[in-house]
Symmetry: none
């Protein structure tokens, strides 16, 4: 995995796991790779992977079963979607609108770009 330099690696790892869960790669109560496995896969240090998993557990996206590993929380998908939706409507969109006004970009331009996808 190649990492963006502007964001902590462990957060990018957590984001990526969330993306994978949303995409259906790991389903409710599925076991995700062990901390060590994941660290090796992404070529990062164990501690960094640990931090990513701790973050996810704190957010209720995964849960831990002692000696067995981490598993996808049944509500993970909802949890992630909700958190991201909130960020989207509370931060991303308003900030984008603010920029658009300052830059004199109209919403048509956005619709246009969307249509091009």
């Amino acid at each position: 995995m190649t990492f963006n330099n502007n964001k902590a690696i462990y957060l990018q790892m957590a984001d990526r796991l969330c993306d994978d869960i949303l995409a259906g790669k790991y389903k409710a109560d599925d076991r995700i790779p062990s901390v060590r496995e994941y660290a090796v896969m992404l070529e990062v240090n164990t501690n960094t992977a640990v931090k990513a998993y701790e973050e996810l557990a704190r957010d209720g996206v995964v849960y831990n079963r002692r000696g067995l590993g981490y598993f996808v929380d049944p509500n993970a998908k909802e949890q992630i979607m909700q958190a991201r939706r909130e960020t989207f409507y509370r931060e991303v969109l308003p900030e984008m609108f603010r920029q658009m006004k300052l830059l004199g970009i109209d919403i048509n331009k956005v619709d246009e770009k969307w249509a091009e996808l």
Copy 2:
């Protein structure tokens, strides 16, 4: 001023000054507040304000006249607009579209929010 914890304070200060210039608060060749004044206004360390001004000077948004202070570059508005437009189309918009797809948000929803402004 309240700062976002994920971005350097000096960059947030620079952004804010750019916003003010775009909004017409400071016009071409206007003198902007002194580093110290600005530091006091925003309750930050003088060094932080210095870095913000240096950043702006490097970007050609302001220029310095020894002993007099910093002034708005005549091309500032253009400069800022151009840089931001590029960022907008190259980073902000694509990232927003990516999130919209993951979250199942349609462009209509965005249009709607825009109309509400």
Copy 3:
């Protein structure tokens, strides 16, 4: 059984069996459930149940008869009571008093809660 995450599962299992013995569920020389039965009952790994039983055997709370299973030691109740009383007066109570002082909770409040039971 739901387990506290701060204490080893096998110790919590052992505690629970001791509770049952104190409560009279298993009496002197009664056979307790087999390791495997108990593991299934509490939904834990067999190894974990084995460790719990070994712990209890080490403490003289149960004894093993080859091929027959584990049985409650005739002195189990006494043994457990004594160990717990000691812990109670040496650790539990002093720590509770310390907390009460820090939190400004008076002994009356404790008496009150006790009366409510």
Copy 4:
């Protein structure tokens, strides 16, 4: 500082800082020792001290000012007291009562010990 072997060092450090705040050693908006200073003071690794501070910040007991250090949250005392009180009434007391019943210890005995302090 000597640490109890049954609890993570970083948690014991956090507990200790909370004790100090309750005791009035650090007051609202006081700066607490820097992560590195505290690590040296207690003879632990920097990372361990970092974990303790992160924990406290997550709990709203301290807050961070970039480049300056950690400061006591104005609500820290309340926050700590409330969290501990809750634990006391929800976990410590019920568990103690349960033990007392199993051991046949009466509340008088507790009152007595309290009086002896």
